[in-house]
Every structure is written in structure tokens, then in C-alpha cells.
Symmetry: C2
Amino acid sequence: MVYNKEDIVQLPKSFRTQLINSLSGFKSVTLVGTQNLAQQKNLAIMSQVFHIGADPALMGLLIRPDSADRHTLSNILETEQYTFNHIHGAIVKQAHQTSARYPQAISEFEACNLESEYIYDFQAPFVKSSKVKIGLHLEERVDLKINGTILIIGSIQLIDLPNDSINTDGFLDLNKAGTITCNGLDAYLGTIKLERLSYAKPDKPLESIPY
Amino acid sequence: MVYNKEDIVQLPKSFRTQLINSLSGFKSVTLVGTQNLAQQKNLAIMSQVFHIGADPALMGLLIRPDSADRHTLSNILETEQYTFNHIHGAIVKQAHQTSARYPQAISEFEACNLESEYIYDFQAPFVKSSKVKIGLHLEERVDLKINGTILIIGSIQLIDLPNDSINTDGFLDLNKAGTITCNGLDAYLGTIKLERLSYAKPDKPLESIPY
């Protein structure tokens, strides 16, 4: 089935929203933990988190300012600290429930039955039951004029992960850590390993890397 | 295992590259098809593609200008047209091989044995064997000062997908379409459906959506 530009514009709004949100392929899905200066905590599930660079170690988060994520955005701007917490199968329903529009005074940690945790002196709450946790410091805010979304770029300050999920070469085995992925707005999936492949060179056949 | 900021900075370069590239969770992995004004074709595998908005329908692509992706970038800037092509299990090795640094005169379509295809009058090549294909027009280039990466924002002009992968509500079933995901720089995975969940509201229990 082929949709051209006119077809896409004429699709019913909710149909287009579902379709376009699926088109970018499988996405990471992360619980973003924040608090305001009064230490009121917030937790929100987000699927627009991505790698920006390894040195310096940077990650991006794209936020729509008029969405349920607005408390997350204001907390990040206020404190400049936030956490990314991977989601595994056992907490997928609680994680999805954080997308409901709770009033600011209500912490999604409590409302969705996900215990918070502080690690060392990092000033934003982590999800205790998450297996992979990352603490970030706000480095740059980029406003995308084209549709009003905001790109939040953060530097990685702290990483907490299961000992047995990291290989000797630094590869973090997300399948072993139980991390899930998502499709569109509301579907969650586990993974099956296919292959890890060697660094590609024009004149050399690829080799499988055991993992 | 906890790494703080000093630990991260002191990690050996290749270890840090592997670790940080895995931290953002599972990523989409896409073959980006382009050509220059002389119709010399290029194909490159990329894992920094993400959803930006549904209305208008926009997708982002983050490119490091000094990488093997530099021909992709120059072609996008030259012609303003490019394609995203999902990867399934049967073409994962050919797809990975496109990351080798071929000279500009060599087309990765040919070198990696992936046939190209043109759809309607769209002026950039698609991967014929891909199941999900998207044609994009360059709308905005945003240079991220923090590390020199370039965010390419494109509007969706054309979508080609298997009839049986799209649900009546617009949800594109990526698992059914065979789309794979990736972990870090070099690991590829299939998916297992866990659950599709209803729109979350504070006072309403979640329901499973059959899919």
C-alpha cells in the first residue's frame, strides 16, 4: 500500500497519529524521573530518547511542550538534573500508566506504584526496580521551530547497570538486562537476538561476534 | 555496577563507545537511500532515526559529519530528497555491510547486493527488498553545537508498506512487517509482542488492545 503526501494529509487524525508514530521503527522506551526545587517528584514514560555522542557522553530527549510531559520539562529546566530508567516486562503496565495526565501535586512514582530511589548525591529520582539507570545533567535546549518540540541534550553523569549485562568490550546486552522496546504509541515488545556483526570494511567479509 | 562521571571519562575509548551507544535502549535501524545530482546512488545504515511529529508528519536523522555517513549528508543537502528503508532479518548482513567506507564512486546498493527501486516520481532510491519504505523531503538542518552532529528534519512525502501490516486504527505492526531493532553499534534483534495498552487515564484501569 502506497500513501503519497496528499493521502497522508487527508488521513483521519488518530489514524495518522498511530501510523506516523510507528514509521520510525522500534523505539527505546524510558521512564524519565525528575523533581522540582520543592522535591516534588515526577515520572513520565517517553519514547523519544536517543544517542547523541559517546565522547562526551550525551543523550537526547525530544519533548512536546503541550503534552502530559510538561511537568518533566519544567522540572528539567528548573533543576537541570533528570534520570532515564529502562523498562522491563514486569513493569510495563505501571510504566505505561505514567502517561496519564495526573495533576502536578501527584507523583507518578506513587500513583503508578513504582518506588523511587536516590543514588549517591544525584539530585533526581531513579526508578528502583529498573535494571538500567542513567543520571543526566542538562547541557543544551534546542527549540525545533518546525513544530515547537524541544530537544533536551544531557550529559551522562551516572550509570547503574546489572554486572552480568556488560560484556568485556563495553557492549551493554539490553536483551540480557530485560530492556523492552516499543512500537508506536502503545505497543511493547521483548527482543530475540539475531546477530552481532564485526566492523564492516569494503574488502573483508563480516564475522559474527558471539554474545 | 555504578559508573560516575569520572569513571566514564576514564574508560578506554572503544569500551566507552560500545557502552554509551547501548545506553539509549533499543534503536530503530534504517537504510538511508540518497543520490547526488549526477544520480550516483548511496546507501547507509543508520540508527539515529526518530519520530518528530505526526502533523505535519516529520522524522529526524542525526548524522555525524566526519563519519562514513558523509556522502549521505552531502546528497541530502544537494537534492533535499532521501529515503528510509526498514531492515528485516533476511537483509541484516547486507545492511550492516553498507557501513563500510566505500569510495564515493561506489554505490553501496551494488557493493552490498541490495537492489534499488524508484517509486512514482520520487527522486531518491529505495531498497527494493525492504518491507517499509518512506520518502522524505529535507525541511530543516539543525547543527548541534555541543558535538558537531547535524540533525536533519524531513517531511514524509511517501509511505510504502505491506497491506497486512497496518491495523484498522492506523497502527503499523512492525513485528508483522519483520522490522528488526538494534542494540549499540553492531547487534541486531527481532521482537516478541508483549502487550498493546489502552490510552492511560488517572482514574481508569488499562486494557489490553488485541493485535
